[in-house]
Structure formats: structure tokens, C-alpha cells
């Protein structure tokens, strides 16, 4: 409906538009989870939510914003889903669709107190939090890992397809296809929309943690491109992990999960260093050179507290161990005061839990810090046989660093050169080039 708008009306309209956007960002994960629980169709749920958002944009400026915006959006979205299903019912699958409509309508009318209007009479309590179901579904092992990451960020993270595509350096079309295929797989293959039963829970939780860890790492260390830290991904990963912990705590049959606590601790402790990792020129600052006054002390305190809570449960695991290593760095007042011996021991424990050449590489670096470069090199030489490491630029950079400190400068130059050839991250490349210049200038 067209009408004249005064400047004050316009400013109210834009305030309301902002409020809708804010509600969307904060609540869309929860609203989507509830809608998918009703309609069992990701695309339909998303479309219906978009319809509801449009309705809000039209109606709230006129009627005023509802007391419970999220509940309003959920209720309206359910009605919009019914409308969409009705339109589709003229096509094939008429029988099944009419069935779904009947179920939905029963749910919707069951909630209303019989009022003529459909504003937010329903309070938040009538919509149980379905996000845990959504998270486990997005992270189901039947989906490819990259699809799990994309779907989690899209539905629970509230990121747009464009934002996710940019974060993972693929085209928007590719990302959109990835999401569509994943949603279709969930539907066609019969992936159940639920929190897994007790027998499956441990392994499925591992899968969820792996996805969240991947999202964090993608933000923390970009493999290619200019930005060393993609802070929004890190913040999103932290937010999602917090949500997971809250949801687990609220499930009567679940409780504190030490590895989930450990993962959040790890993220917070690493994220605490973000302001010190890149200098004003945009160059990489190594851990030992970072200005520790720039570290986020509150995040460190919270991370350490979470780790302590996890360790009290006496079920150690890789995320807790990594968090412990990060905590040792975070709590050292200066680089020189770092307890490298303890860190080396923790890497050893980590290597036993989750054997990997990269972990052993980190152990060698820690041993070198504790006992000198020669000892570190002895460990690295043992790893040299590993095929995967020969293509990993960090292996060559670490080896170069130890050779440099051991005074084997020609070999160091060769290793830095090899590292540079393999490295795609602009900021890390600049660092390696600087080291080579220093060696050449001797």
C-alpha cells in the first residue's frame, strides 16, 4: 500500500528495518530449526522464513513491532509454508502434500488462543529449541565435510551464501549448488532430523566438533589470499560452539561434554591473540614477537576456566590437549617464560591420541625451544620420510628456522626457498621472503 512518508515515519521505518535485520541475524538459526522440524524441508523452511521477513517489513511499520519478534516470525513462517505447500499441491504428490498441510495446520491452530489476529500471542516457550537437532543433521556423516560446514554456517550461522562462498574462496554458484545438493541428500536419503540416540551420540558429537573446528581454523589461518585472520568465521565458530554447549546442558539425557568444552577453550585461547598476530603493515607476527598486551585477557581467563572444567571430568581428548598447549602460551607473561618442556610433553600426548605428522612437527618445534635446535632437528629428520609433509610449507619453514638457529645457513636458505615455493598465503610469503633476505644479507 503506497502512502506518503514523513521524515519521522521514514526514520521509524528504517529503525524497524534494522530491528528485523537484527532479529534475523540473531534468531534465524533458532527459527529455521523450528521450521525444519515442522516441514522437514530445508528449502521450504528458508523460503517460508523469507516470506515471513517480507511480511514483517510490510506490517511492523504499520502495526508496530510485536513483543516477541522471533515468535511472530516463526508463526507467520509456518503459515507461509502452508501457503507454499498448497500452491505446490496442484502438481504431483498431491496426496502427501495435503497430508503435510494438515499436520502443519494442526500445529499452527493448536498454538493460537483463538484471537482474530496472528500477532505474537505465542511466547518463546511454545517453540522448543530445535537447534541441536539442526546442528546434528547438518553435520551428519552422510554429507561431505565441505557440505556439512556450508550447511551449518548457512542455517545456524546465519551467514548468506555469498559470505560463505567468499570465506571458502569458491564462486557463489558453486556454494549455492553445494548447499542445494546437501539439502536434497538429506531429504532423498532419509537423514533423520533429530539428536542422535545414545548409541550414536559420541561419534556424531565428534563429527559436529570437527565441523566447528574446521570453521574456526578457516577463519584463523587462511590458506590463500590476503587476510591472515577471517575474524567473522572465528567469531561464528565460537558462537556456534557456545550454542552447542548450552543446548547440550539443557538436554536432560546429556550434560557436560569435555571435548566440547575443550574445543571452546581452544578457540577462545587462540582467538585471544588475534589483535597481535598481524602488524600495522599487515605482516605476520610470530608468537614469540607478539605484543602480549594486545591479547584479549578476558577471553584467556574464560578459556582457562573452561579448560579446567573440562579436565575435572577426567576424560582427556585432543581438543582439551590442544587447549592446554594454547593455555600455556596464553599464560606466559613473556615469550621467554613459555613452558616449552610442558608444551613438548603435551604434543607428545596429543600425537598418541591423534597420530599425525603435523602434530609431530609441532612437537619437534617445541622440543627445539626446550632443548635446542639440534634436538628438534633430530625429530624432524625422522619425519622427513612422510610424503604428506614434503608438500606442507610449514614443515620446510620450521626446518629452515631450526637450521638457521643451528648455524646451518646454506641448508636454511634451501629450506626457506622450498617453503616459499609451496606457500600461498600472502602474509606468510612476505615473512619467508624477509627471512631469505636476512640470510642472503649475511
Amino acid at each position: 500500500m503506497e502512502r506518503e512518508s514523513t521524515p519521522s515515519q521514514q526514520s521509524t521505518d528504517s529503525q524497524i528495518a534494522q530491528m528485523i535485520e537484527r532479529t534475523f541475524r540473531q534468531e534465524s538459526g533458532r527459527i529455521l530449526a523450528t521450521l525444519i522440524a515442522s516441514v522437514r524441508d530445508f528449502t521450504l523452511a528458508e523460503d517460508a522464513l523469507q516470506d515471513a521477513a517480507l511480511a514483517a517489513l510490510q506490517r511492523w511499520p504499520q502495526e508496530g513491532a510485536p513483543r516477541q519478534p522471533a515468535a511472530w516470525l516463526t508463526t507467520i513462517a509456518r503459515r507461509k509454508a502452508i501457503d507454499r505447500l498448497r500452491r505446490d499441491a496442484t502438481l504431483a504428490r498431491k496426496q502427501t502434500l495435503l497430508q503435510e498441510i494438515a499436520t502443519l495446520e494442526a500445529q499452527v491452530t493448536g498454538l493460537w488462543s483463538g484471537g482474530a489476529t496472528d500477532d505474537g500471542q505465542d511466547d518463546a516457550a511454545t517453540f522448543p529449541d530445535e537447534r541441536l537437532k539442526l546442528l546434528f543433521t547438518c553435520c551428519h556423516p552422510a554429507l561431505a565435510l565441505e557440505a556439512r560446514v556450508a550447511l551449518t554456517l548457512r542455517t545456524l550461522g546465519g551467514l548468506t551464501t555469498v559470505e560463505i562462498a567468499n570465506a571458502f574462496l569458491v564462486s557463489t554458484t558453486t556454494m549455492a549448488q553445494r548447499l542445494t545438493r546437501a539439502q536434497r541428500k538429506i531429504h532423498d536419503a532419509g537423514v533423520p532430523y533429530r539428536v542422535p540416540p545414545a548409541a550414536l551420540l559420541a561419534e556424531r558429537l565428534d563429527g559436529v566438533l570437527a565441523v566447528l573446528y574446521l570453521i574456526f581454523n578457516e577463519g584463523y589461518t587462511a590458506m590463500a589470499g590476503d587476510a591472515l585472520i577471517r575474524q567473522e568465521l572465528c567469531a561464528e565458530a565460537i558462537r556456534l560452539t557456545r550454542t552447542l554447549l548450552d543446548l547440550l546442558a539443557n538436554e536432560p539425557t546429556l550434560g557436560d561434554e569435555p571435548e566440547a568444552l575443550g574445543l571452546l577453550a581452544l578457540m577462545l585461547l587462540n582467538h585471544a591473540r588475534r589483535r597481535a598476530r598481524v602488524d600495522t603493515h599487515g605482516d605476520l607476527v610470530l608468537l614469540d614477537a607478539q605484543d602480549r598486551t594486545l591479547w584479549d585477557r578476558a577471553a584467556i581467563v574464560e578459556g582457562v576456566a573452561l579448560l579446567d572444567r573440562a579436565l575435572c571430568l577426567r576424560r582427556p581428548g585432543p581438543y582439551q590437549t590442544q587447549a592446554a598447549i594454547s593455555a600455556l602460551h596464553a599464560q606466559a607473561p613473556t615469550a621467554a617464560a613459555t613452558d616449552w618442556r610442558q608444551i613438548a610433553l603435551l604434543y607428545g600426548a596429543l600425537a598418541r591420541m591423534a597420530p599425525s605428522p603435523i602434530i609431530e612437527l609441532n612437537q619437534a618445534v617445541a622440543v627445539a625451544m626446550a632443548d635446542g635446535p639440534t634436538h628438534g632437528l633430530a625429530l624432524l629428520d625422522r619425519l622427513q620420510l612422510d610424503e604428506a609433509l614434503s608438500h606442507y610449507h610449514f614443515y620446510h619453514a620450521a626446518r629452515a628456522d631450526l637450521l638457521r638457529r643451528a648455524g646451518r645457513l646454506d641448508e636454511a636458505t634451501a629450506s626457506y626457498t622450498r617453503a616459499l615455493a609451496l606457500c600461498q598465503n600472502t602474509i606468510e610469503r612476505r615473512f619467508l621472503q624477509r627471512r631469505l633476505r636476512e640470510l642472503a644479507g649475511r
Binding site: 551428519h140 532423498d188 532419509g190
Partner: protein, 114 residues
């Protein structure tokens, strides 16, 4: 939901099993069939790919070749048609097929027509 569980194993390795090992596999399949009899709608073991013939019709001409449709590292040796609540249940059943321990079980939903 109905699913087909396609059992792929390496035929060469299978044929190298001794009588005792073969007996154990047979017993495994019998036990599987018994444990999941309420879920299994059908299924068969197949003779090896050396007995297979592949038929294609192109431009009205029937072409037949000796052997399976393609050479693969693992070969189709049998299948089950099952009824399962959801993919989790189908996957759990698939994991109990003896072939899963040495080969691969593909879990494929059946297309249902109204």
C-alpha cells in the same frame, strides 16, 4: 523407507580364501539374515563378474560384451533390499553385513512412485 544395500568386495581376495574362511563368511551372512529378518525384504548373492555379460543397445543395435559394465577395484557380489526407519538405521544394518568388514556397502534409497 526402502534401501538397497549393494555389497562390493574384491573378488580376487575372496577367491583366495580357504574353506575355513569361506565357512565363517557364510555363517556371518546366515547370522545377519536371521538378526535382521524383520527388515530384509529380499536379497541375493551373485556369481562373480567372470560370469557377467553387459548389454547395450545403441542406434537399434544390441552390443554385448563379456564381463561387468566397468572394471572396478571392488566388484558387486550381492545385495539386500531392506525396510528401514531412516538412513541411520540403514547404515547400521549395512555395517553388520560381513562384506562391510573387507569391502564397501553402498546404501541407496529406493525411488518410490506414488
Amino acid at each position: 523407507m526402502r534401501y538397497v544395500l549393494l555389497i562390493y568386495t574384491n573378488e580376487t581376495q575372496d577367491s583366495q580364501m580357504n574353506e575355513q574362511e569361506q565357512g565363517a563368511i557364510m555363517a556371518g551372512y546366515n547370522a545377519f539374515g536371521e538378526e535382521y529378518k524383520d527388515k530384509i525384504l529380499g536379497g541375493d548373492a551373485l556369481l562373480p563378474t567372470s560370469s557377467a555379460t553387459t548389454v547395450r543397445v545403441r542406434e537399434g543395435k544390441t552390443l554385448s560384451t563379456d564381463g561387468p559394465f566397468a572394471e572396478t577395484k571392488e566388484q558387486l557380489g550381492g545385495y539386500y533390499l531392506i525396510n528401514a526407519e531412516n538412513l541411520d538405521e540403514a547404515m547400521q544394518i549395512a555395517a553388520h553385513i560381513p562384506g562391510a568388514a573387507v569391502g564397501s556397502i553402498e546404501v541407496r534409497p529406493v525411488m518410490e512412485f506414488d
